[in-house]
């Protein structure tokens, strides 16, 4: 579910980075104020734990497939929201740098999608379910409900961020239909795994969960404050993105224009037709149309847009030349370096 750099526009990436940085700054303040210094190595090692636990394959009965842990909810339960959020943020940075999961520009998006929802929206739910004290049943339902909600929100954010960036033609309805059910299934697995681990830890070391839930050494959670922060962030993000969209036809306007401006056209493609039928049923905005597929209107405009998008002959020839030149220069530098090394050895 990691957002990739290639899918976002600089504006969306920047806005989300600003929002996530805000939450991180607040968490750091809270952690610094309330933190027992013992918790710093604990946070670090827990981050490494979640990272390695993500590599464990859990076989899912009756499906023949296997799933793995995301870990955001588990971190919140073990460390509390603030320290959990910071730990998740550092895991995501390492994933972006070392594994190309997500990216540096999309870092803010990923921290928001995988950190903010789990630690600040879903974790209070877990606390609410378990507020009368821990037992296996409450831990199970708390972990399940909170994991499901966190993943649904995260997946929905991926859809919104991609659409606002305007990098794909995937219509809103189809994208949502692709993402949400998959993440419902992932959420169930995540919920169960989180629940069984949390129950195990609660049985073996009850103090870990209880201290965290009581807000001892890691800081209490003021839900009201967090909701205000998220609300403000949402308004800011919404405001700046819609402002951007009105400036740039690639963003919101692009989808709005399609919604209002075009009608649905006959297509020969069966998949295309099936998809459009599904899309009709689930589209939030009714009559969300496809772009023009008319043969008639493509020829004159087609050639024109050819020029505009740089697929003219000189663009193609030049593109190939660029590639060849770049690779040639690369080899040349390597060749001379090697030669120099050989001569130095002599």
């Amino acid at each position: 579910m990691h957002m990739a750099d290639a899918l976002i526009s600089p504006i969306v990436g920047g806005t989300m980075l600003a929002a996530s940085t805000g939450v991180a700054a607040y968490s750091i303040k809270k952690v610094q104020k309330d933190l027992d210094e013992k918790k710093v190595p604990f946070m670090g090692v827990m981050g490494a734990f979640v990272f390695s636990a993500q590599m464990i394959n859990f076989s899912i009965p009756a499906t023949g497939s296997s799933g793995h842990l995301g870990g955001g909810m588990l971190l919140a339960i073990m460390l509390g929201p603030y320290a959990g959020f910071l730990t998740m943020a550092s895991i995501l940075l390492i994933q972006a740098l070392f594994f190309g999961d997500g990216g540096l520009l999309a870092y803010g998006c990923n921290v928001w999608n995988l950190g903010v929802y789990t630690c600040f929206l879903a974790y209070p739910l877990f606390l609410w379910v378990t507020k009368k004290g821990f037992n296996s049943k409450r831990i199970f339902w708390g972990a399940m409900v909170s994991s499901l909600i966190a993943l649904q929100l995260g997946a929905f954010s991926v859809v919104l961020e991609t659409l606002f960036s305007g990098k794909t033609e995937l219509p809103f309805g189809v994208f949502v239909l692709l993402m949400q059910p998959i993440h419902l299934a992932i959420g169930v697995v995540e919920g169960i795994v989180t629940a069984v681990i949390a129950t195990f830890v609660w049985k073996a070391r009850p103090e870990v969960l209880e201290q965290t839930a009581n807000g001892e050494p890691i800081g209490s959670l003021s839900i009201k404050r967090i909701l205000v922060v998220i609300l403000v962030a949402a308004v800011l993000i919404g405001g700046s993105l819609s402002w951007f969209a009105s400036e740039n036809p690639d963003g919101l306007e692009w989808s709005m224009e399609k919604t209002a401006g075009s009608t649905e056209l006959e297509t020969e493609d069966e998949i295309h037709q099936a998809l459009s039928r599904i899309q009709d049923k689930i589209a939030i905005l009714p009559d969300y149309g496809f772009s023009s597929t008319n043969e008639g209107d493509t020829k004159p405009e087609g050639v024109l847009s050819n020029e505009r998008i740089g697929t003219s002959i000189s663009g193609i020839v030049g593109g190939f030349l660029t590639l060849i030149l770049a690779i040639f220069i690369g080899f040349l530098i390597r060749f001379f370096k090697k030669k120099r090394r050989v001569s130095l050895k002599k």
Binding site: V45, V196, S291, G310, I316, G318
Partner: protein
Amino acid sequence: MSKINNSLYNIRLLDDLAQKESVVHKLHPLIKLLTTLVYLIVVVSFEKYDISALLPLIFYPVLLFSISELPVIPILKRVLFAMPFIIGIGIWNPLFDTQIIIVAGIHIARGWLAFFSLVLKCIFTVTASILLIASTGMGPLSHALRMLKVPKIFILQLTLTYRYLSVLMEEVSKMMRAHSLRAPQQKGIHPAIWGCFCGQLILRTFDRAKRVYDAMSLRGFHGEYPAGNLVKPKVSDFVYFISWSVFFILIRIYNLSDLMGDLFIEVIK
């Protein structure tokens, strides 16, 4: 099983590569981070149908590869791992953006251009990120983050997570090997033992955290983490940053591929 060993190998490989002593490795980490960021912003700022204008940006990874003497194949393999999600989302473009255009006499759906442009952007951005870490390493990179005024507690947490990553991954790898020897032909961990398998690991993690904390306390840790003085970038570092940035911005403004193509066609005529 192979996944965890792959990841372990990956981290060690990038760690080893970061120890090399090329011109790029010697540059200031902050400068490398900023250059990478400018590159990423320029790459993703291109329109979704741009391919020819985007292509000249390949000079950056190619030059970096050859000057830093980093191995091409292992790093590109890492890049491939990041591709499925992009391909999964991008492949819908040709389905929904079916306006026909003519490219070199071939009629294709415009969505294919958007798809290839997306794939290209993904290759460029992921390669740039991995090249950054392979030519810098985690230690110097946290140095750069400190210069960017990222709070110490986050950097400490980041470096500790990184430090213990390989330790815990080895632990998991051992546990999974033991499990697979006792439960052959199973595709993963059976649901009946999900809790105790990970729970055991988490208990070991707690104990390790306690030992880490004790060891740190013995060496004088009390909440502050001495990280040494910050080294300022040199003039040559700034020259590196500015020249790449100017190059990226020029490419953003002028379509170099088009210019080269025109020139080539003129010469042939």
